[in-house]
């Protein structure tokens, strides 16, 4: 019984950061039809920026108001998004919208290559640590095991983000317009929707979510080169399994992937690495549109 709890909790913790990042990827695909290979880079840049922010904050005013460090991290992610989002969408991607969708994948791959090195050039190759926020919530005891409170904060954050996104898309006017664009871009444009504005905003939100995921994971890890490469794969897997463009799908898929990994780690360590790709391959083989698919199936 304890094992089950451990697996569920570990899975949930994993699922949280995966969801935050993957939902950004799926949103970008849903609205702009871009399969963003550079998504992991936004995560990494968010992590580095947060590490910087944390470093600055806690050596200054932060000592007296430690909780506000979380705000500093959020601001860091926001800055990343505001700087990169509009710049990339207007300054790079839009020149390729009229071409085959695969061309955009290649462009994001080229962007990935560029950002990988840009990150190294800006922040160097040595690891950064931003551990201060990790202790903000103390420890939580469940059964015989102690968990770090911060991890549960992350779970809460993921849930809040999921709800806010869902509400934003389904209950606000602008949100419904975004859903319309996801569902049928041509129709929306014909109906007078300012698709350009929706593109820039949606892409920026997507970048923000990735950066946020990176920023709030930073306290748990050492921020160093190589993050982007792994993160993008996980977000891909989740987005594909959940259905590209579906927020609900990303949520469920994150849970599935998180728990699958936890299962593997505890019960079958040899499968830890490939269980995610196995799930992805199986989903593609059996139901390529994913669990939920708001966009038309583009299998053939």
């Amino acid at each position: 019984m304890e094992l089950v709890t451990t697996i569920l909790i570990d899975g949930l913790i994993d699922a949280s950061w995966i969801f935050i990042v993957a939902v950004g990827l799926t949103l970008i695909f849903g609205v702009l039809n871009i399969l963003n290979i550079a998504h992991g880079n936004f995560y990494a840049i968010g992590a580095y920026a947060a590490a910087n922010a944390v470093g600055v904050y806690y050596s200054g005013a932060g000592a007296s108001m430690p909780m506000l460090g979380l705000v500093a991290m959020t601001v860091a992610a926001l800055v990343v998004a505001i700087v990169l989002g509009p710049l990339l969408e207007r300054g790079l991607f839009r020149f390729f919208y009229h071409r085959d969708e695969i061309v955009l994948v290649l462009v994001t791959y080229a962007l990935f290559l560029i950002l990988e090195d840009a990150t190294k050039l800006i922040w160097g190759v040595n690891p950064y640590y931003a551990y201060e926020p990790y202790g903000l919530f103390g420890t939580v005891s469940i059964g015989k095991l102690d968990y770090v409170g911060y991890d549960f904060f992350l779970i809460g954050m993921a849930i809040v983000i999921g709800i806010l996104l869902w509400l934003g898309l389904n209950r606000t006017r602008s949100g419904k317009v975004v859903l319309a664009v996801i569902h049928d871009r041509e129709m929306s444009s014909a109906a007078g929707v300012n698709v350009t504005k929706i593109f820039v905003i949606s892409f920026t939100i997507g970048v923000f979510l990735a950066a946020l995921g990176g920023a709030f994971t930073a306290p748990k890890i050492s921020v160093q080169p190589g993050l982007a490469v792994m993160v993008v794969l996980f977000s891909f897997a989740v987005a594909v399994i959940g259905g590209l463009g579906s927020i609900e799908g990303a949520a469920i898929a994150s849970l599935l992937v998180g728990i699958a990994r936890a299962l593997a780690i505890h019960l079958a360590p040899w499968a830890e690495l490939f269980i995610v790709y196995l799930a992805m391959a199986l989903m593609l083989a059996v139901r390529p549109q994913g669990i939920f698919s708001p966009t038309a199936l583009r299998k053939i």
């Binding site: 071409r99 695969i102 990935f112 290559l113 794969l233 499968a271 992805m280 391959a281």
Partner: protein, 320 residues
């Protein structure tokens, strides 16, 4: 379109030039050409797939299969002859190709790309955890031989490998050029342009795609085997998605019209990598990225489009 005679003539001249270069170039340069040949072969396989209208982000699967096929044959089977090892690598990759093609042939666009990526990462994950295959560290290989000849020094070993690769590359290049110019080659391009029309002419698009895919797998394996022998090491990284990404880079830079362009682009990749690792180690990927963007923007048919004169046409944006 080159006549048969021209192709053989060019092949002969190229081989002669390559052999001559091998005599005058320093050893590190010669080695670079060998690794460029290996990657070029794999990228050429990817080009075959691109010619049917698909982009694979998993060519690394076959590159890795070929590397491990050759490597294990050497370590467990005691075979050291380059020719046998390369053929074995190709055969193992071919097998994987035959197994995966039926599943993949019904996918297009983003889904095809993601599925190939997933399959390649599956192999990576499996190999990383397979301790009896070396796990994430991989395995070191012995020195290869050629037709019973054992090289006396390291420089001689590189030279021997280089001569072997040159012959291999020229032979493969001739075969591919003939394929490009043949009816089969045309059918691949026709499939890329309009699958519906191909079906309504009575041909199976699935078959065209599968056959090209399996051939691509074989080439990927041959390249992987050559690389394994040259570098003397195999590890799961060969199947990681960034390895596949390198082949994508080469294929996009070269375009799908010219075989020579593929190897030229591969040499460029190796040059950028080794040059920058000396002088600016944290900017070589950026250089690749910039090259790629430039190519996508300004050379829709790649470098090959400059060699094989053909006006750029993107059927995706044609109004009719």
């Amino acid at each position: 379109m080159l006549s048969r005679l021209m192709v053989w003539l060019l092949a002969g001249v190229t081989l002669a030039i390559l052999v001559a270069l091998g005599e005058v170039l320093p050893s590190w340069c010669v080695f670079l050409l060998v690794t460029a040949a290996a990657k070029g072969l794999a990228a050429l396989g990817l080009v075959l797939v691109i010619r049917t209208g698909l982009l694979s982000f998993g060519q690394g699967l076959f590159y890795c299969a070929g590397g491990y096929g050759a490597g294990l044959l050497m370590l467990w089977g005691g075979i050291t002859d380059m020719t046998l090892l390369v053929l074995a690598g190709g055969a193992v990759a071919l097998l994987f190709g035959l197994l995966t093609a039926p599943l993949l042939a019904s996918y297009r666009g983003i889904f095809f790309a993601t599925l190939t990526l997933a399959l390649s990462m599956l192999m990576h994950g499996a190999l990383t955890k397979a301790d009896f295959l070396g796990g994430s560290d991989g395995l070191n290989l012995h020195s290869p031989t050629l037709f019973g000849l054992r090289p006396a020094s390291a420089a001689e070993a590189v030279h021997m490998l280089y001569l072997f690769s040159s012959v291999l590359v020229v032979a493969v290049a001739v075969a591919c050029r003939r394929h490009f110019d043949s009816l089969r080659g045309l059918l691949s391009l026709a499939t890329r342009d309009n699958e519906i029309r191909v079906e309504y002419l009575g041909a199976s698009v699935s078959r065209v795609i599968s056959e090209n895919f399996v051939a691509a797998a074989f080439l990927g394996g041959v390249g992987g085997a050559l690389n394994a022998i040259a570098v003397g090491h195999i590890d799961p990284e060969l199947a990681f998605w960034t390895t596949s990404g390198e082949f994508v880079f080469v294929a996009i830079l070269s375009g799908y019209l010219s075989v020579a362009a593929v190897f030229a682009s591969s040499i460029l990749l190796e040059l950028i990598r080794s040059f920058s690792s000396q002088y600016f180690p944290n900017a070589w990927q950026m250089s690749l990225g910039i090259f790629m963007l430039a190519s996508i923007l300004f050379l829709p048919n790649g470098i090959g489009g400059l060699i094989v004169r053909r006006k750029a046409c993107d059927p995706g944006k044609d109004p009719a």
